[in-house]
């Protein structure tokens, strides 16, 4: 068993953000979590990465409960489940290569990380990863000078530098235009296909989930209301996830990413 989520909850004061969530993942996959804002998608990913503490339950990765880890063991787990954020969360005033090398912070000595004493091999690997994502020529630029789509690819490069078993992507395309959204989603899919890494992505829209995921979990008010293959996402299921409002679920199901035809992405650097 790769990942086992059992009765996980998170309560913020009077609000239950995640309510007894349970599901299992027996082999590496591309998992999408969909739902409205506030459904608990982000909180769940932050629980897995330990950015937020859980109020109850267990998350087992290869049998080990990661919610019980502390100190150095917890940081080692964090470096195994890389996180990608909606706002990229890069260090804006630093160059792209340094940002990518931050993926090694947990793997190198404190002395090396404090004074950024990276080995040539590390730097070489960072550049290789940037090259794989098609932005190697940006390596020396400041992160803040890049476009949103490029910054998100730097964030993916940082994640890959961690050599993670799982990549958690929290709304990775919500701040991007359709073309960049497609580049980013294609990159994530390719990383899954080629490296066999598990990707768990929070997505706003059904459509993106249908296109990229092997499996989709629908959340509403902190609970799982759907768990199945993307082709099982019917209009009725969408209403269940996004609410009864007809217009709202219509809007939620059709997305900006449709603007490009399938195959257009091959013309773009990925």
């Amino acid at each position: 068993m790769l990942l086992e989520v059992r009765n996980v909850s998170r309560v913020f004061g009077a609000k239950t953000a995640v309510d007894r969530m349970s599901f299992t993942l027996d082999k590496p996959g591309f998992l999408g979590i969909i739902g409205r804002s506030g459904a608990g998608k982000s909180t769940f990913l932050r629980l897995v990465n330990r950015l937020t503490g859980a109020s109850g339950g267990e998350i087992r990765f290869r049998g080990k409960n990661v919610l019980a880890l502390r100190g150095a063991e917890m940081r080692a787990w964090q470096s195994q489940c890389a996180m990608i954020f909606q706002q990229f969360n890069l260090v804006p005033r630093m160059d792209v290569a340094s940002n990518v090398l931050h993926g090694l912070l947990n793997r190198r000595s404190t002395l090396a990380t404090m004074f950024s004493l990276w080995s040539d091999a590390d730097i070489h690997r960072a550049l290789e990863i940037l090259d794989r994502l098609g932005i190697a020529e940006q390596a020396a630029k400041r992160a803040e000078a890049l476009s949103g789509g490029q910054q998100q690819r730097v964030a993916i490069a940082r994640a890959l530098m961690q050599d993670p078993a799982i990549i958690l992507a929290d709304e990775p395309i919500a701040s991007l235009d359709p073309m960049n959204a497609q580049i980013v989603m294609d990159s994530l899919r390719r990383i899954h296909d080629e490296d066999g890494r598990t990707v768990i992505a929070n997505l706003h829209t059904l459509d993106t989930a249908r296109r990229y995921c092997d499996r989709v979990i629908g959340m509403r008010d902190g609970r799982i209301v759907f768990d199945g293959r993307p082709d099982q996402l019917s209009a009725a299921v969408a209403r269940e996830i996004y609410g009864a409002n007809e217009h709202f679920s219509e809007a939620a199901t059709s997305t900006s990413i449709d603007v490009l035809e399938p195959g257009d992405a091959e013309l773009l650097p990925a």
């Binding site: 996180m83 804006p92 630093m94 993926g103």
Partner: protein
Amino acid sequence: MAYSIDEFHTDYTRHRARQLATFWTVAVLLLALTWATGQLAGFFRVTQLTLADGSRAEAWVLAAGLPRLGEYIEKTIPVLRVESIGADFAEWFWRWKTWARLLLETVLIGFLATFFGVTGGLLLSFTAARNLAPARWIFWATRRTLEIARTVPELVWALIFVFCFGVGPLAGVLAIAMHSTGALGKLYSEANENIDMRPVEGVKAAGGSWADQMRWGVLPQVIPNVISYTLLRFEINVRSSSIIGYVGAGGLGQELRTAISLQEYTNLSALFLIIFATVMVIDWASEKLRHRIIGLGKTA
């Protein structure tokens, strides 16, 4: 119409009246407070003085004392004649060898104290920031430490350190460093509290330790502020180190003290000019440097 012009007029008049009432209340309170504190400080005291013909008179203390300020300044003005200007200047700055050495000492005290102050203040500024402190009690403890370090005046620290380590510049360096740590730690920690937390979260999610988060998530964001505050502090510290010798902690201050207590008035004006010129030069240079750094931060 739900809201007529008349209603508006009534509302507006009432609003104006409230504003005026607030203004006058505050004005009267401030005036009363100024009067009370002035009374306490002896501002309105009447004092006795002797007139030129030997008779005694009463006058307001400021009016009676102001001429004496002129008298004091007059005494510090040296005699400078056109025909012997070189010799007169030489006489005015007759101790220039000692003063030059002490001026160098003053600047060095200021520099070293700033160095220690920056190191201490920067290290403590992370745990003294509400959003970054790893635990509530650490936050509380560092905040109090910084407060104590900057509340105790430099002269008092100097007295304590002269007692511990003897007369000389070491005591001065430590005294000013102590005060700088407190003051800079406060300023730096406020800069830390205003940062964008997303990069910090990014580093944390990648498995970075608390130190990694500070080094890469926080420091790159606050470095322009840190440099700017540091340069400003250096100016202040050079000024402070020219006084600190008053209690035997090195620098020009000891000469100031001798000049004042032995009433060597022209020495006093010479020393004042030396300090003034030094501070002016540092002020000018650090402002240039600061603008360069801030300017660079914008364009790159």
